[in-house]
Symmetry: C2
Subunit: 181 residues, 2 copies
């Protein structure tokens, strides 16, 4: 299926408002609890999304445009959010994410990418050759994977509270699927 960049940008544009509606001012049971040791709360996930806005997506787009496959992307630090969230409130993180996302999308739009640009190739440090199209699609799908994760982490807090309904609720059977949930 051909990648329509406007579909990707539309989704990316909406995510700050989605997280805001989902998380801001909610009781802490929904936002600060995780699924057990070494797992993330919704708060942590927002920190991770901020870190990716700073160090992953647009920096990699620029690497593809400037260096093609000759310079691999910098590795992404999956624990980079620890620094991001320190001493911050959830409200501050949501504001920061919205600000960074808006700035990055303004930069992306200013590049005026055309279909032929989407075929440009870069070098991922572990995946190998990838296209700009795949990178941009992944930016959007990454929002969705973390929305999927946040809804699961939130549901986990009610795993006992729902009693026997647990078996009818698919989210209660989901245990995540990979390193990036």
């Amino acid at each position: 299926m051909r990648h329509n960049l406007q579909d990707t940008i539309s989704l990316l544009t909406g995510t700050p408002a989605v997280l805001n509606a989902l998380l801001r001012d909610l009781p802490e049971i929904w936002t600060f609890r995780n699924e057990g040791e070494n797992t993330w709360s919704a708060f942590d996930v927002v920190g991770h999304l901020i870190h990716a806005e700073r160090t992953d997506w647009m920096p990699r787009v620029k690497t593809v445009l400037q260096f093609g496959e000759t310079r691999p992307f910098a590795s992404f630090d999956r624990l980079g959010h620890v620094r991001e969230v320190q001493g911050k409130s959830l409200g501050q993180l949501l504001d920061e994410f919205a600000r960074l996302r808006a700035g990055n999308l303004a930069e992306l739009r200013a590049l005026n990418l055309r279909p032929e640009h989407l075929e440009l190739r870069g070098q991922h440090p572990s995946l190998g050759g990838v296209t700009l199209s795949e990178l941009l699609a992944t930016w959007a799908a990454h929002d969705l994977t973390h929305l999927h994760q946040i809804s699961r982490v939130m549901a986990y807090q009610y795993r006992e509270t729902v009693g026997p309904w647990s078996r009818y609720l698919g989210v209660m059977q989901c245990d995540g699927h990979s390193s990036s949930n």
Copy 2:
């Protein structure tokens, strides 16, 4: 863990705005596509949530309060949304869901339920004895299971577009987990 009804109400209150931010005015690739035959699009899920607002949650709360375990809940029609969505736009469905949810939460608040009410018991047609606490917690967790589903259905549309990143995106490995996704 004790069920704090305010936690449940806070989550239920936010869901219409979450779905609105996530879906309204998005390109149809995100809202009208499903995961294959006999699966639901985001549009269908909103129809299902509307149907549950009309026929499931508050009607069952009232059944518990009026009849306790002596009258089983009416069965929920998982295909009831087909009627709900016919001839409607996604915007109309989102408005309808927000209106129904606000009305149901006003009714719930007006009941002034106290902790002792939460222990009252009702009869589920297939699960057997359940408490009012479990029913109300499930109302909230049901929002989350469908947010989890919607994010998965949306991500599915990019399963090829993301190329090799697919393996790093947990949502792409999720195939749903039960009859209520």
